[in-house]
Amino acid sequence: MAASGEGGVPLLRVEQLQTHFETGAGVARAVDGVTFELNRGEVLGLVGESGSGKSVTGFSILGLVDPPGRVVGGRVLFDGENLVGASESRLRQLRGNQIAMIFQDPMMTLNPVLRIDTQMVEAVRAHHRVDRAEARRRARDALGRVGIPSPEERLSAYPHQFSGGMRQRVAIAIALLNDPAVIIADEPTTALDVTIQAQILYEMQKLCGETGTALLWITHDLAVVSGLADRVCVMYAGRIVESGTVDAVLDSPLHPYTAGLIGSVPSRNRRGGRLVQIPGMTPSLFALPSGCAFRARCPNAQEDCAQEAPPETVPEPGRTLRCYHPVRETVA
């Protein structure tokens, strides 16, 4: 695990975060009591299936949840400062400067009618008092760092003149512009091809290693996390059901859901044999079962699982777990 910030305070600490969507059909508890820490220079993988609340967690950190969604509880401590309830102007100071975000679709970052240099110069000058030429120089350097050939010429191109992989690189370059302390990356390589994904992962790994930027990598792909991250949190129905170092969680999962996810990866199975499958499907957030949300699909479920949602326990140092009947017995 990477070294903590000064005085052992983590760079980013999310505490009991709750983000709910109040709709006509009821209240969807998309994020329901999520707690994790991100240290300087660390890569944390946040893994979950669609609807698990992993993306909403990322959006909540930067105050980017749109109504009817609302952060209804908990704290997001960035360097000790609580961002929940912080003023919009304070959040604007932080966004793109201290904490940057990369989205799955780079066109969420890029404005299609503005040239790349216009957008990048704007992003620099929003946070630093530098002249246009200096801002442009920084933009060019950032493009060079993410491996875009002939950055000087590409600066005057429009987003549509780039391929998908190159656009994602531009989005990453914009995230890197102001040397942020934290980058939140929401499925940034999901839409890309294998060889292009490998290029992006390579750049991210190199850049974070060089600059000490902490990375929160949100994905559904366990294989990407295993290659990239130091620690991993597994989310299910708005809660982190298991967390720990990548080696610990992926080699000896405790939560039946994590074990099921790992088991259903085709390369972990005998070729041509039946895949381990988790029965059923992810429950609707409007109709979560009582107790543990996973119990209807869980092979270990017993009566007590229906009573109350399992609290977070620490089965081993550096690991957390929400389960009454883990895959194997733990010491605690």
Partner: protein, 336 residues
Amino acid sequence: MSAARGEPLLRLEGVSKRFVKSLDLAERVARRFGSDVQEEVVHAVESVDLEIAEGEVLGLVGESGCGKSTLGRVVAGIHPASEGRLTYRGKDITRAAGAEAKKASLKIQMIFQDPFASLNPRLRVAEIVGEAPLFHGLVRRSELAGYVDQVLASVGLDASYRRRYPHQFSGGQRQRIGIARALAVKPEFLVCDESVAALDVSIQAQVLNLFMDLRERFDLTYLFISHDLGVVEHLSDRVAIMYLGRIVEVAPTEELFAGANHPYAQALLAEVPRIDSRRRIFKPVEGEIPSPIDPPPGCAFHPRCPHAFERCRLERPLLKEVAPGRYAACHLNDRS
């Protein structure tokens, strides 16, 4: 299960598919006045030779734009081939017409990627599944309801779902409806185009298991198109790898994953993220996939290939047998 044994179920010989973007009015006028505007031709699939044996699962792998979906559509009869010949059970189906063409096209069915876009939202499940077998006279109207229930049961859907609309189902269930629709006309050959790509990992495993069960139960043959090498490795007997419209390597799955011959196949295999590799150093291939409108001369992979030499820039390598049952298109095999 090698294709060499006996007559293959499906044979492709020199199959090409080109898409032409014809000139619009302004461009035609400009051309009349001597301007140098040309029609753009996309070479989506270029002279593909392939054999698929009965009961085999052939995985077709490549990155976006390599032509794998187009090839799948040509096989399923959705796009006519621009050139070349398709033979199904020894019969030429490329230019078949009338009843014979209909019969062949029923035997080859396709399952699509997006379970949200490939089902008519205004039809009930019973109509989606029952329409084709009724139209083609496979069942009588009086027996249709029972038949639909039976097909739904074979893909693991409860018969009580038959009156529902597609929007009432989750992604995994919709994909099952798509599979039921294909199975309803009693096909022998399924073309699966990225059929599990849109599904979550746990649901993906369920659908992959279903594909394997169905293969055994109905003696199906698959052309399984995917960009996900893990899925293809698990399911396929043989794997074909495409790059920019051409097949660059075909090999039995185990042999391919033990060591690929073509440099592109090697790079692709090396970059698959695997759950067992921790904090690995990603060492990517440089560059991007070139445009199929203007493919590079010689070997299409030479601008990105670490081993490229003079001949690769000039001459296009042909797919040759490099070991029994293994084919690759690379000049390096002629060296040494």
